[in-house]
C-alpha cells in the first residue's frame, strides 16, 4: 500500500507500508518524494499508464494492472486499486493498494503457449490428412475414369466385331454380350454420378435401361412397360440387379415373340417388408410353346444371379405368356 500527495508537484509517494518496501526492494527513503513511475520499465504498457493517468486527472477511482520492475530489475505484475481521498478542498491524497499477479500471468502465458503448440500440431496434422485425402480422391477419380473408359472400350470391341460378323448366331451372341455390358455400364455410370456411391436407385436405373432396350425395338410390334419404384439398394447389388433386369427383359423379348407376333413385356418392382419383388411378365407364346432352347443362357444367368443375391425365382405360365417372379431380400430389413 502507498499514499501519494495529490497537491505536491508530480504526485509523489508520501507513505509506503513494509510489504511494499519488501516487495519492490527499494528502501523507504528511496521511495518517498518520488512518483510511482519509478517502478515502470521497458515492458510496461503505455496505454494502461495513460488510462491510469486519465483516471487520476478526473479524480476517479481505478483498477489497473501494470508490469512493474523491482530495484534489482526483475519484473512483476502489479494489480492495483487507486482511490482518491478528499478533504474540504478536494482531492488531497491518492491511496493505492497492490497485489502481485505475476503467478496468474505466468499461468496464462504458459496456457497460451500450450494452446498455441496444440493448435500448431492440429494444423500440421490437418494439413497432412487433407493432402492424403486429396491424393486418395484423385486416385479414386482416376480409377473411376479408367473403369468407365474400359467398359466403353469393351463395348466398342464387341460391337465392332458384331458389325464384321455375318448375320446369324455368332453375331446375335456378340450383340447380346454388348447389351449385357451396356446394362452393367449404365449401372456403373449411375452409381458414381451422384455424390452417394454406396447406394443405387433401382427405379432410375430400370427407367434408363428399359428406354435403351425400347429404343432398339420395332415400336409397332413390341413394347416394354415398366413400373419400378424408386428403391435404394446397396451399391454391391447394382451390377447383379442390372444384369438380372436385362436378362429377364431380353429373354422375354427373344423367346416369347420369336414367331413375329406382337406383344408387351411388363416389368414391375416393389419394395416390401423383406426386400424387393420383381415381376417380369410377357403376353407371348408361353414357356410350353417356346421352341426348345438347350443353350438357355439367359435363363441360366438370371437364376445364377438370383442365387447370388440369396433370392427366389419362379417361372410360371400366365394367360397368355409367361410370368417370372423374383424375391430378393434386402439387408437391414426385418
Amino acid at each position: 500500500m502507498i499514499v501519494t500527495d495529490a497537491r505536491a508537484p508530480d504526485n509523489p509517494i508520501t507513505w509506503a507500508n513494509d510489504a511494499f518496501v519488501a516487495h519492490t526492494g527499494y528502501g523507504l527513503p528511496e521511495l518517498l518524494g518520488r512518483n510511482c513511475r519509478m517502478l515502470q520499465g521497458p515492458g510496461t504498457d503505455a496505454a494502461e499508464i495513460a488510462r491510469i493517468g486519465a483516471a487520476l486527472a478526473a479524480e476517479e477511482p481505478i483498477s489497473a494492472e501494470l508490469l512493474n520492475y523491482r530495484k534489482d530489475g526483475t519484473p512483476f505484475w502489479n494489480a492495483m486499486t487507486i482511490t482518491p481521498v478528499r478533504d474540504a478542498d478536494g482531492v488531497a491524497y491518492f491511496y493505492a493498494a497492490q497485489a502481485d499477479m505475476s503467478h496468474t500471468h505466468q499461468l496464462e502465458l504458459a496456457m497460451r503457449g500450450t494452446n498455441d503448440e496444440l493448435e500448431r500440431q492440429v494444423a500440421a496434422r490437418t494439413t497432412a490428412l487433407s493432402a492424403a485425402l486429396e491424393q486418395k480422391t484423385a486416385l479414386l477419380h482416376e480409377v473411376d475414369h479408367r473403369v468407365k473408359n474400359n467398359l466403353q472400350v469393351i463395348s466398342s470391341l464387341m460391337l465392332l466385331k458384331a458389325r464384321r460378323t455375318p448375320e446369324g448366331e455368332a453375331r446375335d451372341a456378340l450383340q447380346g454380350m454388348a447389351e449385357r455390358i451396356g446394362a452393367l455400364s449404365t449401372a456403373h455410370r449411375m452409381l458414381y454420378a451422384e455424390g452417394d456411391c454406396t447406394h443405387f436407385d433401382l427405379g432410375e436405373f430400370a427407367t434408363e435401361l428399359l428406354s435403351d432396350i425400347n429404343a432398339g425395338l420395332d415400336a409397332d410390334r413390341l413394347r416394354i412397360e415398366a413400373q419400378v419404384e424408386p428403391i435404394a439398394v446397396a451399391a454391391a447389388m447394382a451390377a447383379p440387379l442390372a444384369l438380372l433386369i436385362h436378362e429377364l427383359t431380353a429373354n422375354a423379348l427373344h423367346h416369347a415373340f420369336h414367331d413375329g407376333r406382337s406383344g408387351t413385356v411388363s416389368i414391375t418392382a416393389q419394395r416390401h417388408a423383406d426386400g424387393i419383388r420383381l415381376t417380369v411378365r410377357d403376353d407371348g407364346v408361353g414357356l410350353e410353346a417356346a421352341p426348345p432352347n438347350p443353350a438357355g443362357f439367359g435363363r441360366n444367368l438370371a437364376e445364377m444371379v438370383v442365387r447370388q443375391l440369396r433370392g427366389r425365382i419362379a417361372w410360371a405360365a400366365a394367360t397368355p405368356g409367361t410370368r417370372v417372379e423374383i424375391d430378393i431380400p434386402l439387408r437391414g430389413s426385418a
Binding site: H145, K148, Q152, S156, T186, H188, D212, A215
Partner: protein, 145 residues
C-alpha cells in the same frame, strides 16, 4: 439392333478421341445414324487443325487425348468458331470446367447408342433455333443452357 433416324438431319461431325476402338465404333454408329464424319483426331493439335480445315457442325470431344487432358482446351478452341457446336464425350466429366469451355453439354461414358442418338438430335434441334424441352438420358447440358 436397328436405330431409327428418319427425323434427325445429317450433321458433319468431328470425332476427337484417342482410344482407337472407341473412335472406330463411334464412326460406325454415327454413319448408321445418318451423319457424316469429317475426321477423327487423337491429339489436341490434330483436333484443332481438323477443326480449322473442316469447320464441322458438331465436335465430339474426349477430355483425355494422346497428349494428356487437353480436350478442355480443344473444346474452347473449336467452340470459338460459331459454326461448330462442341459436345464433350468423356468418362472424366469431373475435369470439365464450370463454363464447360464453350461446350453445349456432355455425353457421359460409358454411353449407350441411344444416348448418342438423343444428344445429337438435341444438338441438331438447337442448331435450327429450336429450344427442345429437357436433355435426353445420358446427356447433361452445360449450366445455363
Amino acid at each position: 439392333m436397328e436405330i431409327e433416324h428418319a427425323a434427325a438431319p445429317a450433321l458433319r461431325i468431328l470425332v476427337v478421341e484417342d482410344e482407337a476402338l472407341i473412335a472406330l465404333e463411334l464412326e460406325c454408329l454415327l454413319a448408321e445414324l445418318g451423319h457424316a464424319i469429317v475426321g477423327v483426331a487423337a491429339s489436341s493439335t490434330e483436333a484443332v487443325a481438323l477443326g480449322r480445315a473442316t469447320a464441322p457442325d458438331v465436335a465430339l470431344v474426349d477430355i483425355h487425348l494422346v497428349d494428356g487432358p487437353t480436350g478442355v482446351e480443344v473444346a474452347r478452341t473449336l467452340a470459338a468458331d460459331p459454326r461448330t457446336s462442341v459436345v464433350f464425350m468423356t468418362a472424366n466429366a469431373k475435369r470439365i470446367p464450370g463454363d464447360f469451355a464453350g461446350a453445349i453439354g456432355v455425353i457421359a461414358k460409358p454411353y449407350s447408342e441411344r444416348a448418342v442418338e438423343g444428344a445429337l438430335a438435341y444438338v441438331a434441334a438447337c442448331r435450327t433455333g429450336q429450344r427442345p424441352q429437357g436433355a435426353p438420358d445420358g446427356f447433361r447440358l452445360a449450366p445455363g443452357l
